[in-house]
């Protein structure tokens, strides 16, 4: 089977890095001998490596401040988790301010919400919060009769005809209106 440049080129980096499997390297090597374009790619890969060497060996790598490790270890043991931003100068001022503002806004919203909710609740008067027990039908009837100056009716009179019921209701309405 023909081994093409399309297959060879992506392998060249791994080949130069010493990361190509022996089986793949056995395919690549004969191709490199035959193919000038892929030999050029290999040469380019080697050239690229030489661009990285000076920076890797550069003495300009940032110096570690003295006492850094002791300071970090002390903070770690003291419970500083590092789960925060490493704030830039501007952010250092802005972020706490935004957080405080958010907290104040949340508190005001909560108070307003509670206030609105309390105001929308019916007050004690309209709730008829009367702790007296509700009257039974017979008690109502006797109360009506007492007010109208008639003798109390028998409890059986609860079973009224529709006309009587209407009359009783009218009588009751009359009493309410008098009140």
């Amino acid at each position: 089977m023909e081994f093409t440049c399309k297959e060879a080129v992506p392998m060249i980096g791994a080949y130069l890095d010493g990361e190509l499997s022996p089986a793949s390297a056995a395919l690549l090597r004969p191709h490199l001998l035959e193919c000038p374009a892929c030999r050029n790619s290999t040469a380019d890969g080697r050239a690229l490596q030489r661009w990285f060497t000076p920076l890797r060996e550069s003495a300009s790598a940032p110096a570690v401040p003295s006492g850094f490790a002791a300071r970090v270890a002390r903070r770690a043991v003291a419970g500083d988790t590092g789960e925060r931003s490493a704030p830039a100068a501007q952010e250092g001022k802005l972020l706490p301010f935004v957080l405080r503002l958010t907290a104040v806004a949340a508190a005001v919203t909560l108070m307003l919400a509670l206030g609105v909710r309390l105001r929308s609740r019916p007050d004690a008067g309209s709730l008829s919060a009367d702790d007296r027990k509700p009257l039974s039908m017979s008690q109502i009837q006797s109360e009506l009769d007492r007010l109208n100056g008639v003798v109390p009716v028998e409890p059986a009179a609860n079973e009224t005809t529709p006309a009587e019921g209407r009359a009783a209701r009218a009588k009751k309405r009359g009493i309410q209106e008098q009140r």
Partner: protein, 203 residues
Amino acid sequence: MEAASKDDLRLVTETLAGNQLSFQLLVERYQQRMFALVRHYTRNPVEIEDIVQDTFLKAYTRLPSFQQASSFYTWLCRIAINTALDFQKRVGRNPVRGVEDPELALSPDGIEGSRPTGTRLPAPDARLERDEIARITQTVLEEIPEIFRTVLVLREFEELSYQDIADVLGISIGTVESRLFRARARFKDKLLALHPEFGEGWS
């Protein structure tokens, strides 16, 4: 996956038992490499120190979850890179992430050096000072998308194996290979775009 060294494991165990000095020794062992790694994400020395410090503080907090089958160093690299990228996002320097260039990946014509007539990449000119080469390389690295920069940094500067890079980035070895391939092509393109004079005479 490179296993943690016995000495690292001993220090990790002692740290977990509450020994502050053992953790300090771990920090001392890796602080220089962490400073060198993080400088590829910001040039500001104060920011570098903050990011490295946060890396070690997070490492301390997460130490109980450290899988001792893996290398302490690659584990630390993963935390450092994520901390550096989070930092950049937080300060509004949104790194270009997740960029894959399908055209570059699929077209053999777009592949570095595969065209005999394409511009070849020469090694650095012998007349250039090493510091000058380092400066140019750093500038080019900063110009390429983060996804490619990170894989190049881990390979070319941290000299990690493909398996360790896969471990740090949480990707497969095949993805490491293809990402490195694209990253090198990007690096070459950007280098020649910024310094066309280096490509002359190689066509």
